[in-house]
Amino acid sequence: MEFIANVQAFTAVAIGIIVGLGALGAALGIGIMGSKFLESAARQPELVPMLQGRMFLLAGLIDAAFLIGVGVAMMFAFANPLLAALS
């Protein structure tokens, strides 16, 4: 029983760290990229449509690692393989 509680406790902390650090990285990345985009949009407004398309592409790429982390964390939350190894 104690083994199970131990594994579950550590899994919960791990999920928190995965999602938290991923969100931190993704938010900082989007913030920096967005600020550069706004700067260059103010400098050269005629390039805004092209830059906007590239910006959305980059936003998807930046979010990718974070969402992969969320997927892994959710897998640990609902179908914990470490807990299954105990059975």
Partner: protein, 277 residues
């Protein structure tokens, strides 16, 4: 999976609901996900049918709305391919269009209500059957689907590399690529680090393509399931509806964006494979 599913189901409530909705409909001893395969096939055929129907009655005169929309999509994809791939794009552009339309359709299933298939089965076959039927609606939220697609892209990358550089040139470049050396001794020394870097570069492409799409769709589905948990009580019902609407609207953007990214990255990787040094 036996201990924590039985624990989770006996825990009841939201966890059991989520675990039920996360389980695949499997055959062949739980290894083959029939639901992903069937839905992916059905949705792909639907996409083909829609595009073919518009192409069949396409006119050079004033286009109908459907034809104009299909032309919009095709020109969008073609301009993306034209910007990136400098070669014969008679194969690449239809490939990109297939990827884009198919992934958009597969992702869009995520916008259907989560309980809809279960409700339909409950109406048709009764409550008990619905309890024991599992169905994961979104094929791209299944890692098998996304990895299948990215493996095909991976083989295409290798095929185009070999076509551009020749079989022997391709193998040679694996060993001499980023670090070049003059003398024979340095070449041998640098061969192994070159190979390692090239392997990482080649293997990271399909893995990142697949995991990016899978992670986005899986997390999206999971958030829908978690928000569905808010509908359990009357107090949280209205916030639940608002949150669901907000997340669904955001998810429309994610659906289109992830399909676009998969397509653009495929074209970029194939363009990189096609160029020779």
């Amino acid at each position: 999976m036996s201990v924590e599913t039985s624990n989770a189901e006996s825990a009841g409530g939201l966890t059991e609901y989520i675990v039920h909705h996360l389980s695949h409909n499997t055959v062949a001893g739980g290894t083959f996900h029939v639901d992903s395969w069937v839905i992916a096939l059905a949705v792909g055929l639907l996409g083909c049918l829609l595009l073919w129907a518009q192409a069949r009655k396409a006119t050079a005169g004033v286009p109908s709305k459907g034809q104009a929309f299909v032309e919009l999509v095709v020109e969008f994809v073609d301009s993306q391919v034209k910007d990136t791939f400098h070669g014969d794009r008679r194969f690449i552009a239809p490939l990109a269009l297939t990827i884009f339309v198919w992934v958009v359709f597969m992702n869009a299933i995520d916008l259907l209500p989560l309980d809809l298939p279960g409700w339909i089965i409950g109406q048709v076959a009764g409550h008990e059957v619905a309890e024991h039927t599992y169905l994961r609606m979104v094929p791209t939220a299944d890692a098998n689907t996304t990895f299948g697609m990215s493996f095909v892209v991976f083989f295409l990358i290798i095929f185009y590399s070999i076509k551009a550089k020749g079989g022997w040139g391709f193998t040679k470049e694996l060993f001499t690529a980023p670090f070049h050396a003059e003398g024979a001794a340095m070449k041998v020394v640098l061969a192994l680090p070159n190979l390692f870097l090239n392997l990482v570069e080649y293997l990271s492409k399909p893995v990142s393509l697949a995991m990016r799409l899978f992670g986005n769709m899986y997390a999206g589905e999971l958030v829908f399931m978690l928000i569905a948990g808010l509908f359990a009580s009357w107090v949280t019902f209205v916030p639940g509806v608002l949150l669901n609407a907000g997340w669904a609207i955001f998810h429309i953007l994610i659906i289109l964006l992830q399909a676009f990214i998969f397509m653009v990255l495929t074209v970029v990787y194939l363009a990189m494979a096609h160029e020779h040094h």
